[in-house]
């Protein structure tokens, strides 16, 4: 399982990376952490004649706290977010999510930008950035562009990025001080990709999303309505959440199999409980 031959190029600036993509066409690929792309190259599931390494471009690893929002370079690793090395606008949600991505060795090199660009629906940042209402920035032949993270992914592995675009940064609005969150994902074993996921944010803002779908995360407006008016998390709320979720899925015209909807509902209820500070049930003998 060795990659097919390619030429490796390490540009110093974003503009040079874009120029390489323009020159290389479909056979040019950008690599940063390589934690997703290298397996695919090794498996020859993806081919590249030109591999453009953007990992060390300084503007991609820079972070800036702009007060009302934080701007994170696309090349920031999951580990840096996990470890609190960068400013956190999310009241702890982002470090928590980062700490549950794959394994430490992968977190040390994988990047948030790489994860968003690949747009595997199960990737944690895909749902988290949508939930936080982030804005994605990218740079291409047409110069710098931005767009909401919530609309960034069209379908599995398909984003607003064109073939010569490079994702450069993510701007995340700072959550209100009183905002709380909950997140829950179903993994069959530690570190593997999620099969179902839910994320809720309440208090000042209310946002609820399902992740690990067949494509983009699904926003849940009826669920948000229930969350806004619920003072506590009780059986009544949990029942209402389930029904609201079904309404939102039906309205989204997205396909989710019965089993998956069952599991998504579980994730939504448990994410909601977490947001209310209810500790997850620890089952033991």
């Amino acid at each position: 399982m060795k990659p097919a031959p390619f030429t490796y190029i390490r540009p110093q600036r974003i503009e040079d990376a874009v120029a390489q993509l323009v020159e290389g066409g479909w056979d040019a690929k950008v690599i940063a952490g390589g934690q997703s792309l290298m397996p695919m190259l090794n498996l020859r599931m993806v081919s590249a004649e030109r591999l453009i390494d953007i990992r060390r471009i300084p503007q991609l690893t820079a972070c800036k706290d702009l007060g009302a929002e934080v701007r994170i370079g696309a090349g920031v690793t999951h580990a840096r977010i996990q470890q609190g090395d960068i400013p956190d606008p999310s009241n702890g949600l982002m470090p928590k999510v980062a700490s549950r991505i794959a394994y430490q060795a992968v977190r040390n090199r994988g990047t948030i930008g790489g994860s968003l660009s690949l747009a595997d629906p199960a990737a944690d940042w895909v749902t988290t950035m949508a939930a936080l209402g982030a804005t994605v920035e990218w740079h291409g032949e047409a110069g710098p562009q931005t767009g909401p993270a919530e609309d960034f992914i069209q379908a599995a592995y398909t984003t607003n990025l064109g073939p010569t675009d490079v994702l450069t940064a993510i701007r995340i609005p700072r959550l209100p001080r009183e905002a709380v969150w909950g997140t829950y994902k179903l993994c069959r074993k530690t570190g593997e990709f999620a099969h179902a996921m839910a994320m809720v944010i309440r208090g000042g803002v209310t946002r609820a999303f399902l992740g690990a779908t067949d494509g983009a995360p699904i926003r849940l407006p009826s669920v948000e309505t229930e969350l806004q008016r619920a003072p506590t998390c009780d059986a009544g709320l949990e029942r209402a959440l389930g029904e609201a979720m079904e309404t939102d899925i039906a309205n989204s015209s997205r396909e989710l199999a019965d089993v998956r909807r069952w599991q998504m509902r579980t994730c939504l209820v448990r994410a909601t409980r977490m947001s209310f500070g209810i500790p997850e049930l620890a089952v033991s003998a």
Binding site: P5, L51, P95, S99, Q104, A105, N108, G191
Partner: protein
């Protein structure tokens, strides 16, 4: 398509010409005789190829040699005098933490990182942190015991020894699991 790279491998400055597509794992095995690196999957899941790059553990099978120009690489061959590895070896030996040996180098390197990050952590934390290293032989029982014993011994030694840890040991992180 070849390039010249310069990097540090186990403390030694190395200059080599490599094919662009050569993975770091293959380069280190062939060029630096770092045969403690074992290939179990070549797609970043099993952890048998785990080494230290610039002080952080990483999968050598899913990065390229050319991407590591300027990097500081440590494999198990270069950690023989590391006090954490020495203690881990002793603990793995006493607690039957290995059988066929194929996962062992990656396990040792990850375990060293676990001790640096979490200190003398509880069993559940240790197991969670070992999730990225597959063992097919031991059922993990001996490995978990070994890591916890080593962490406890090192914590005890550290509290009775004022010297700071060697610079290659990553800094302690407050538990974030």
């Amino acid at each position: 398509m070849t390039q010249t790279i310069e990097l540090t491998i186990n403390g030694k400055a190395v200059r080599a010409e490599v094919d662009d597509r050569t993975t770091l794992a293959d380069f280190l095995r062939e060029h630096a005789d770092a045969r403690s690196i074992h290939l179990g999957c070549e797609h970043g899941v099993c952890g048998a190829c785990t080494i230290v790059i610039d002080g952080a553990i990483a999968r050598s099978c899913i990065t390229l040699a050319v991407m590591q120009d300027g990097a500081d690489i440590r494999t198990l061959e270069g950690l023989g005098d590391d006090p954490v590895i020495r203690q881990l070896r002793e603990s793995f030996h006493h607690n039957h933490g290995l059988q066929c040996g194929y996962c062992t180098p990656g396990m040792l390197i990850t375990s060293r990182d676990i001790i640096a990050r979490y200190g003398a952590a509880d069993e559940s934390t240790v197991r969670d942190a070992l999730a990225g290293n597959i063992c097919r032989c031991t059922g993990y029982a001996g490995i978990v015991k070994a890591v916890r014993e080593a962490a406890a011994r090192l914590a005890h030694d550290r509290s009775s020894d004022a010297d700071a840890s060697a610079s290659v040991v990553p800094r302690r992180i407050a538990g974030s699991l």
